[in-house]
């Protein structure tokens, strides 16, 4: 469409064409499909653009959209690759402990009190809560310590005697790899690990 056509279409849709000019325009509409389609599209455009309600709604929608994504971004901070490599790093000593308990099971304390853990499964990816479940009730108070991959303690929790389950709130934990150890006075330490947001773990780990 050239400028003259575009202007004529606007004038036609505004009811400004008269006499010969109008007749010529309508004759072209009847014979030129491409021209007809353009006029039709222009009419749809004018209908939408002249809709004041839609403009004001779109403004509100833009605000709502901005609010939503601001909130979402605040909830989900971004991390650099270096930070993620640190968060998901492996602690070789702890990995060894975990591997050993499945192979040699060198029990040094009272084996009759040694608790067996049903959950969590090692390597689980979690986000809100982590439930520790014993096969049978603990015969003595147990301590659960959770450390991040920099070996910083991020939480300490207690299993009371005669309980078999402990729920740990991990909502506030940063993404990363976490190790836990469960121990008591007369039982050997049980080791394990879990992830928060494993989807963020860099491939090179």
């Amino acid at each position: 469409m050239n400028d003259k056509d575009l202007q004529q279409i606007e004038r036609y849709l505004a009811g400004e064409l008269k006499d010969r000019e109008l007749q010529n325009f309508e004759a072209r509409l009847n014979t030129d499909q491409e021209f007809y389609d353009s006029v039709l599209a222009q009419q749809h455009i004018n209908n939408a653009l002249n809709d004041k309600g839609l403009w004001s709604f779109m403004k509100i929608l833009k605000k709502v959209e901005a609010n939503f994504y601001t909130k979402k971004n605040q909830q989900q901070p971004t991390y650099s690759l270096q930070q993620l490599l640190q968060f998901f790093g492996i602690v070789p000593d702890y990995e060894r402990e975990i591997a050993n308990q499945f192979t040699t099971r060198a029990i040094t304390k009272s084996s009759s009190h040694q608790p067996k853990l049903l959950t969590p499964q090692n390597g689980i990816d979690c986000s809100n809560k982590l439930t520790f479940t014993l096969q049978t009730k603990a015969v003595e108070p147990l301590t659960l310590v959770i450390e991040n991959s920099q070996e910083d303690e991020v939480g300490q929790y207690h299993f009371s005697a005669q309980t078999a389950s402990l729920e740990v709130d991990i909502q506030h934990f940063l993404p990363g790899r976490y190790y836990w150890k469960l121990f008591g006075d007369t039982v050997d330490t049980i080791w394990g690990f879990f992830f928060i947001h494993k989807d963020l773990m860099p491939e090179k780990i």
Binding site: D37, K52, W55
Partner: protein, 206 residues
């Protein structure tokens, strides 16, 4: 759901930001799941959701509009249709299974007639910044060509008019290229009629 269908429709009619925000927050994860698991990106989620919500708004404004399903199901149906058309346009033929199970029959027909305005608004957002500005000055703010020329530092009111027409011509080109627009016209032939100005001598209907 925190609000009933009626409360949501009424909220949209009154452009109540709290209700619109609520609706956006409810729908975003659903639409994101549909799109992100079917070749889409976060940007697509934003675009499709804006399109769905504005289509829903256009329908809510109709006095006889009533929902036959939950509003979220209705908006999901709009999202599914929109995304399928977008995938088709991108040459990707993927069966979008998610979110389709609970959509009652017939809901699609209710939706589509309200979509032309949403298509225009969606494509308007794809115009260059200067085009968006000039169209907004004219159609949203109701400024004259003279005022537009002064405001946007355009040499004359005649040139402001030419530039405005060119921008709208650009928008028309985008619309004519939209497969979604073509589908709508085919599905609803009454949309193919040019509504004539009162002074015109004959009816134009192809």
């Amino acid at each position: 759901m925190k609000y009933t269908n009626e409360e949501v429709i009424e909220g949209f009619r009154k452009e109540n930001q709290r209700i619109i925000q609520y609706c956006y927050e409810v729908m975003q994860p659903m639409v994101a799941k549909l799109i992100l698991t079917n070749s889409g990106k976060e940007e697509d989620v934003k675009e499709v959701l804006a399109y769905c919500i504005s289509t829903f708004y256009n329908n809510c404004r109709k006095s006889d509009f009533a929902l036959t399903a939950k509003f979220s199901t209705y908006i999901c149906a709009i999202a599914r249709n929109k995304w399928l058309k977008e995938l088709e346009k991108r040459g990707k033929y993927i069966i979008v299974e998610q979110l389709t199970e609970n959509i009652p029959n017939g809901i699609d027909n209710e939706i589509e007639t309200a979509e032309i305005n949403s298509i225009v608004q969606e494509l308007f957002r794809k115009l260059p910044e200067d085009c968006q500005k000039i169209i907004q000055c004219k159609h949203e703010e109701g400024k004259s060509h003279q005022e537009i020329a002064q405001l946007l530092d355009i040499s004359s009111k005649q040139y402001a008019r030419t530039k405005l027409n060119r921008c709208k011509g650009h928008l028309a080109k985008l619309i004519l290229e939209s497969p979604h627009y073509k589908d709508l016209l085919d599905a609803f032939p009454f949309l193919k009629k040019i509504r004539l100005p009162k002074s015109s001598s004959q009816k134009i209907n192809k």
